[in-house]
């Protein structure tokens, strides 16, 4: 491995991890991305868009 390579934050050569509960089966990376999307979606609903005016007319 060359000195300037940045290794991944998790071991990609190991056994894949899955969450399995009854009918639900999903890999941990996919689950992490979906949870992250839900968090970003919820935050975006309440976050003010850059440059948007407040109801009073002020930025």
């Amino acid at each position: 491995m060359r000195g300037f390579d940045i290794s991944s934050i998790v071991n990609l050569n190991g056994t894949a991890h899955y969450v399995h509960w009854h009918f639900f089966l999903m890999s941990v990376p996919n689950l992490v991305v979906i949870v992250l999307m839900l968090i970003v979606f919820a935050v975006a609903l309440f976050l003010r868009a850059p440059g948007a005016k407040r109801p009073g007319g002020k930025k």
Binding site: M37, F41, L47, R48, A49, A52
Partner: protein, 206 residues
């Protein structure tokens, strides 16, 4: 009778006058960050096209043998990941806004078709990587394609066919449908919030 060029120009000006095509302000109700995700998706798509163009110009071995090639390959991969990430949040936001209201059915439908076309675009890219990951995806996908009855003309084990689809056919379709989607958004305007009075009246009626 006027020529077709005049008719096309008049059609364009009637449906998309310059002030609507390139407005100088956005509606006041666009105050939430959820309205940014369409533009973020377009930003990711531009990065995908730019990095993909460089990869295509350098050929399908470059990203395996050169560090700079690997760098652009990674830019291409992660901009695709972000494209889908932003597009799904954009879809959720527009679904809960009922963004097909007010004569915007075609805006909604072109967005849905863009999402559907983006999936095989990404898939043909994953099977064009020329590594063990692409071999695994192709051999798994082969059974899926055969079960659909399309394996004879969409052969995921044919790297040349998948690469051609990925760098020409699907990008043309994606860029075309996304362009149409954006023009329809400009024509109809950003969907306004669902009126609160209607919601209250509906709830009271139940």
């Amino acid at each position: 009778m006027s020529s077709w060029t005049v008719r096309v120009r008049e059609f364009g000006l009637r449906n998309l006058p310059p002030e609507r095509l390139l407005p100088d302000s956005q509606p006041a109700y666009m105050a939430s960050a959820i309205y940014l995700f369409g533009a973020l998706t377009i930003g990711a798509l531009v990065t995908i096209i730019a990095s993909g163009t460089i990869l295509a110009l350098k050929g399908p071995a470059w990203w395996h043998v050169q560090s700079i090639g690997h760098f652009f390959n990674s830019i291409h991969l992660w901009s695709v990941e972000l494209f889908f990430f932003f597009m799904v949040i954009h879809l959720w936001g527009k679904f809960w806004m009922a963004a097909w209201r007010g004569g915007r059915a075609r805006v909604w439908m072109t967005g849905a078709v863009a999402f559907v076309i983006a999936i095989p675009t990404a898939f043909t890219g994953y099977v064009s990587q020329q590594n063990f990951d692409s071999q695994w995806i192709a051999t798994q996908g082969k059974d899926g394609m055969n079960s659909l009855g399309v394996g004879s003309f969409f052969n995921v084990l044919n790297v040349g066919q998948m690469y051609s689809y990925h760098i020409f056919l699907f990008p043309v379709l994606v860029i075309g449908i996304v362009s149409l989607h954006i023009l329809l958004v400009r024509r109809h305007g950003i969907v306004p919030p669902i009126p609160l009075a209607d919601s209250v009246a509906d709830a009271a009626a139940k």
